[in-house]
């Protein structure tokens, strides 16, 4: 089967990444700073890839992704802290509830187009955040203290599943249906594609993985507060996706990695940090408006050249 070759390449690559990081961590060659950075990067990749499905593949302009991150973070934290459920179960619950939230948000709003959809999703995310502010059960503004459970292994497994599921979905007739909606909704409809169903489905899947990322997030950073899930957080995720190249999964991954590293590196230059970060954004966009990889995947770069150029 032709299609399974990249699949096995991906599995092998993943296993190698996991093994190497695990080995270095256990052997102490990788100090806690780097292993924590790797976890942060992985969480950001999950976020980027999940939003990539919504924006890059389905073409639905959602800028409220932090809302689903918050749902996953809080629900999973409630599961472990209040109900003392196992962490793995909490991750699943966080994802499922975030997906439900995605359905609730998606069904009424996804009939909106373009910027109207954008502001509606942003609005929903803000509503979620304001609700958290006002619920004393989860600590309101003071937030919730969460025990540290996130490990490299759990993070890696979640990351692996996220990428696998989203790329499998994309490279199937269902993914093509989503892409056709992005390309021309009227024509997609005329080709017999239930556009509402696929928009909502992509949104729910994206929300699910944002929720998973939320669970990893809350159990990695000791405390969650509603203020950490504002629209600026949504913008951060959006930036990963666009900077990587809309429609390119590997682009999202690469830009999530790069931007997280840049941001971590700049933490020690407080005075100029945000200035440099914003300049990077603007300059990359000015000189590469299609993003780092455009719509291509990193695997395309290794493909046999004449296959593309020739007529």
């Amino acid at each position: 089967m032709k299609k399974s070759k990249p699949f096995w390449a991906f599995v092998i690559l993943a296993a190698v990444v996991y093994g190497v990081v695990q080995f270095f961590t256990v052997s102490g060659l990788l100090n806690i700073y780097y292993s924590n950075l790797i976890i942060t990067i992985s969480i950001n990749i999950i976020l980027a890839v999940s939003l990539h499905l919504v924006i890059g593949i389905t073409g639905q302009f959602s800028i409220g992704h932090a809302g689903f991150l918050a749902v996953g973070a809080y629900i999973s934290a409630i599961a472990t802290m209040k109900f003392e459920l196992p962490f793995v179960l909490a991750i699943v619950i966080g994802g499922v509830v975030a997906a439900l939230a995605g359905l609730i948000v998606g069904i009424p709003t996804l009939r909106l187009r373009g910027d109207y959809l954008a502001i509606a999703t942003l609005g929903f995310a803000e509503i979620i955040r304001i609700m958290l502010f006002n619920i004393d059960y989860v600590g309101g503004a003071a937030g919730m203290q969460v025990t540290h459970f996130t490990t490299w292994t759990t993070t890696f497994v979640c990351l692996f599943i996220t990428i696998l599921v989203i790329s499998n979905f994309t490279n199937s007739r269902h993914g093509r249906a989503c892409i056709s909606i992005r390309e021309n909704e009227i024509a997609a409809d005329a080709m017999g594609i239930n556009t509402t169903f696929y928009k909502v489905a992509a949104f729910a899947i994206g929300s699910f993985f944002a929720g998973v990322a939320g669970a990893l997030y809350s159990h990695n950073f000791y405390i969650i507060q509603p203020g950490n899930f504002g629209f600026l957080k949504s913008f951060d995720i959006l930036i990963f996706v666009v900077l990587g190249g809309l429609g390119s999964l590997s682009g999202s991954v690469i830009s999530a990695i790069l931007l997280t590293i840049i941001s971590a590196f700049l933490q020690q230059y407080p005075e100029t940090r945000m200035i440099i970060y914003s300049l990077v954004l603007v300059i990359v966009m000015l000189y590469r408006p299609q993003g780092l990889l455009g719509t291509r995947e990193i695997t395309d770069l290794f493909k046999w050249k004449p296959a593309k150029g020739g007529h």
Binding site: G28, L29, N31, I32, Y33, N36, L37, T40, F133, N134, G140, A141, A142, G143, Q145, H148, Y217, N220, F221, Y222, I223, I224, Q225, G227, N228, L232, A264, L266, Q267, Q268, Y269, P270, E271, R273, M274
Partner: protein, 372 residues
């Protein structure tokens, strides 16, 4: 790298004392982090000029936590494992301090919070003290209690309204303590309203409060919003005494609210810029010299004091070993600082006297001193 931290925190034997500063330097509450950092840097410069700690110069390594918990965690991990700092001063707000507490304890790095006023900063969910975490300011319940008692005893009010910042755990802590004390002593809370940091228009809610006609309004919050609240309250014809806590203290409050509006308002503070005490006046003068004549606020003073709090413990420990510093910090008694005389209880909560100041024509005037 050499892998995990040694038991005594980072590079013990170098000839500098590395002090990590993990503050809100961008994002929502950047102005508070910035103020504390100013105080910290000033104290460090003074100490270095006077020969440093245990013969070592203090080197400040700053880290911006972007006013986010996740970045605060990442920040302390970086400071402890990469920069191998000897101690960390960090976070202006309680949440972002809590985000660092576990790592500080795990890596046995002293973490000093200038302003983490929530009790949870030094005590974990299970009620256990976090050995390596300390703070300079009072805790919320103390200030809330002080305010309630002041209102009842000095202002002789029987009813009060509360207008608090719902987005800060600080204000919420104060609110709870105030309410409890006030009601226990027979006072009546006639109205409770809240706002969110960064709000600018409080008129609608103030109009509601006015309708309840309270004889006293407690406004726990930070000066940025409080200034506007006081101004708008007076514009709407609210004449009742208003009161807040150390979050109020800043010369900017007078600019924001206007001197007239501030008459008949009170705040609890650690100290007063007007205090003739030499320590205070030296600090105020030195700060003004450094900052183009700008007078210091409570955040500046707390940042400044936190460094001296730490330096005192190092001196008593006679070593820069963090376990020894930690032990001495916990034993701090009667340490005289700009923000008052500080002793720690077993939960690392400072026992400090508070003073109540009254605004008269834009000047803070000493009213009462309250001992814990």
């Amino acid at each position: 790298g050499t892998g995990n931290q040694g038991a005594s925190g980072g590079g013990g034997n170098s000839d500098v004392f590395k002090l990590g500063v993990n503050m809100e330097l961008s994002g929502n509450v950047a102005s508070y982090g910035e103020s504390m950092t100013k105080g910290i840097e000033m104290a460090v410069a003074e100490i270095n000029k006077a020969g440093g700690v245990e013969g070592k110069q203090i080197e400040v390594i700053k880290n911006d936590n972007k006013s986010e918990a996740a970045e605060a965690t990442n920040g302390i991990i970086k400071l402890t494992s990469q920069d191998k700092v000897n101690a960390v001063i960090g976070a202006a707000t309680s949440g972002n301090t809590v985000a660092q507490a576990q790592i500080a304890n795990d890596t046995k790095t002293v973490l000093m919070a200038p302003g983490g006023t929530s009790p949870t900063v030094t005590v974990d969910e299970k009620g256990k003290v976090r050995d390596f975490v300390f703070r300079t300011s009072f805790i919320d319940p103390f200030q809330g209690t002080v305010a309630a008692n002041f209102a009842l005893d000095k202002l002789k009010v029987k009813d009060a309204a509360i207008f608090s910042d719902n987005s800060s755990d600080y204000a919420k802590g104060l609110t709870n303590a105030f309410k409890e004390t006030f009601e226990k002593a027979g006072g009546k809370i006639v109205g409770e309203e809240s706002y969110v940091a960064k709000d600018t228009d409080f008129r609608a809610t103030l109009t509601r409060i006015k309708a309840k006609n309270p004889s006293f309004i407690f406004i726990p919050g930070y000066y940025e919003e409080v200034g506007l609240i006081v101004k708008q309250a007076r514009e709407l014809g609210i004449t009742a005494p208003l009161m807040g806590a150390d979050g109020w203290d800043s010369p900017k409050l007078v600019d924001l609210a206007g001197a007239d509006a501030l008459n008949n308002t009170y705040l609890i503070n650690h100290y007063s810029n007007e205090d003739p005490d030499k320590k205070v006046q030296d600090f105020v003068t030195a700060f003004k010299d450094k900052n183009k004549g700008e007078a210091p606020n409570a955040f500046n003073a707390l940042g400044y004091d936190t460094v001296y709090f730490l330096a005192d413990a190092i001196k008593r420990a006679g070593s820069t070993d963090s376990v020894k510093i930690q032990e001495e910090l916990a034993k701090t008694k009667e340490l005289s600082l700009v923000t008052g005389v500080l002793s720690l209880d077993k939960n690392h909560h400072p026992i400090k006297s508070a003073i109540v100041l009254e605004y008269k024509d834009g000047k803070q005037v000493f009213n009462t001193k309250i001992n814990p």
